[in-house]
Symmetry: C2
């Protein structure tokens, strides 16, 4: 009884999780977090209309969700002024990144990203046998020129760029991003992860060009729309690339309740604007807490603030550890020198009060 014969690739992969969830940390600690401000979820919650739509959809959960996500894609196409055939809907950007990588990256294929950028993208690339080439951040930001240059050098099939960036929170303007799209080498596709675009200043996203084969833009309901747990993301790209997802995606993989929630959330742009205002206020409050503690908050176009703890990674990890032990769920960048920072998601006033109270203790404990 030998059991499964895994592929050579599967055997080579570690059984690791890109992120440990806060629930697992709570179980390990034996108590709940007092503030859940570590995963860039939107503590302000989804639109009440989205909540109502989900509750209303729940009795109909006996039906599979429409595998074409027709209503949602129609609404998204209208919202963005692109065609229905420019949009693919999937189980969060994470799921869509997996499908994209699967379509394009085979063993040994070159992929370029920044060292310290989104680990789940790397997880997919490694998972399909691709070779990751990483360029460093420059001044705490992803470096589009270096990404393009590296892509040319290694003949990359995909180039990952998040704008605004996670985990650092900063952003490039539309013009810089458009120049980057123009500079994408032949045979490469720019994976432009715009998960945080809804909390960025106007003018951060270049106009959508639904015919451009050099870029796929990813958006999500997980951040500003407050529906991380619903698992609805989407990609916007030229029809040929969008069509290709049909070759590999889990057609009946969308939750019907989530489809209803996302549709209602998209329709409630007033609520989105109210959340955007709350995010701005919470960013300011987080920055003030950092400054009050002698730390430097980095500029942010996201729903989190990355805080420079003023020393090295060892110190920031100690601060993080003390915060977590004190019931404050936060995370931090993985890589030198960005790992001198901690990353704190926008919270409610209660969350921010917990953080304000816990941070001095954590800094003392780390010193």
């Amino acid at each position: 009884m030998t059991g499964p014969r895994f592929t050579a690739l599967a055997q080579s992969l570690p059984a690791t999780v890109p992120f440990v969830g806060p629930e697992a940390q709570e179980r390990a600690m034996g108590h709940a977090f007092r503030a859940r401000i570590g995963a860039n979820e939107s503590v302000f919650g989804p639109s009440p209309k989205a909540i109502a739509a989900m509750a209303e959809a729940a009795p109909g959960a006996w039906m599979y969700g429409d595998p074409e996500s027709f209503e949602l894609k129609t609404a998204l196409a209208a919202h963005h002024g692109v065609g229905f055939d420019n949009i693919v809907v999937g189980a969060g950007i994470d799921g869509l990144l997996g499908s994209l990588v699967r379509l394009i990256v085979g063993p040994g294929d070159a992929v370029v990203t920044s060292d310290g950028a989104y680990p789940t993208f790397n997880y997919h690339v490694t998972g399909y046998g691709g070779t990751l080439h990483k360029v460093p951040y420059r001044d705490d930001a992803e470096d589009p020129d270096a990404l393009i240059e590296k892509a040319r050098e290694v003949d990359a099939k995909l180039i990952y760029l998040a704008n605004p960036d996670n985990p650092m929170g900063n952003w490039h303007g539309a013009e810089r991003i458009q120049q980057t799209i123009e500079a994408v080498p032949e045979g490469a596709v720019l994976v432009l992860d715009e998960a945080y675009i809804d909390t960025a200043p106007g003018g951060t996203a270049p106009p959508l060009d639904p015919a451009d084969p050099r870029v796929i833009r990813f958006r999500t309901f997980s951040k500003a729309y407050g529906l991380a747990g619903a698992r609805v993301g989407y990609g916007i790209a030229a029809p040929d690339l969008i069509m290709a997802f049909n070759k590999v995606r889990n057609h009946f993989g969308m939750s019907r309740v989530s489809q209803a929630g996302a549709l209602a959330a998209l329709a409630d742009q007033d609520y989105l604007r109210a959340v955007q205002a709350k995010v701005v206020a919470a960013r300011d409050a987080l920055a003030a807490i950092a400054l009050k503690n002698g730390l430097r908050p980095l500029p942010s176009a996201t729903n989190f603030v990355t805080i420079d703890c003023g020393a090295d990674g060892v110190f920031a990890r100690a601060v993080l550890k003390a915060l977590v032990a004190d019931g404050v769920f936060v995370r931090m960048p993985f890589v030198v020198p960005e790992d001198r920072c901690i990353r704190v998601s926008c919270g409610t006033e209660a969350d921010l009060a917990v953080f304000a109270e816990a941070l001095p203790r954590a800094l003392n404990s780390a010193r």
Copy 2:
């Protein structure tokens, strides 16, 4: 601007959908179905407690679902009397089949299934470059001996067997299935799809042996539990195989609302029993409608009844087409000689009345 360079495998795949959803058919027809009894969804709906749990969870959809599905896996382990490390939860059996195939099947690897069995499994095998070897049904049933023999012959890495079977509805007893597990060749894994086990007679499933490396059993909340649109399935297998899913799965891919719904549904076994009784009654009613029209209903351990239309595939397809045009969503087997049948899911009394009224017309139109 050449755009994406797809892998050779991706280029070789058709951009087809394993099943066209009823919503797409409705859009094409321009009107809604009068009876939605084609996808083996549970028209009886989920437990009211599951509905309440989902509605209650909706405001918390701003949080990612626990990537370990800890509570649900704990409850499932207790329910089945297996270990926590024997269970993997995923976005329906469809999603889990994709991960399983990805772990085990590479280009050219042999996989055995029955000709006419679940197309989504085939979609995954083809999608990862595997080679499908198909054995025919025997007397309208999957043929375990032929599957095992073929697996030996081609050195298969996976063997697919659904019990009860879809699309024919019949089943093998536990002893026969256990013998099949015992006969699995070295280096192969039996993919035992038990999606319909909750509507089968007691004694259809052999006891779970959580240490046996030769089989993975798949169960779902999509059928008797009435949560197809929630996308919650799970696999039960030896820990090594379960652990391997962590290498490739979309860790944060589970809807938090769906996790809550499934947990509540599992806890409400009284409701499940009530649904099981309704399924039995609906099967009997469907059989009676078939007989009244001079057709032969096949024995069923599922939430559908496959009806022999008494002629060939051309005739059955004409019957199906007439039913669909008349607003009755039903499906049928794909392959000769099973395609002489149509497959009708258990419906409410109203659904069954629509079917009873439409079937004679459809038969007349087909004749």
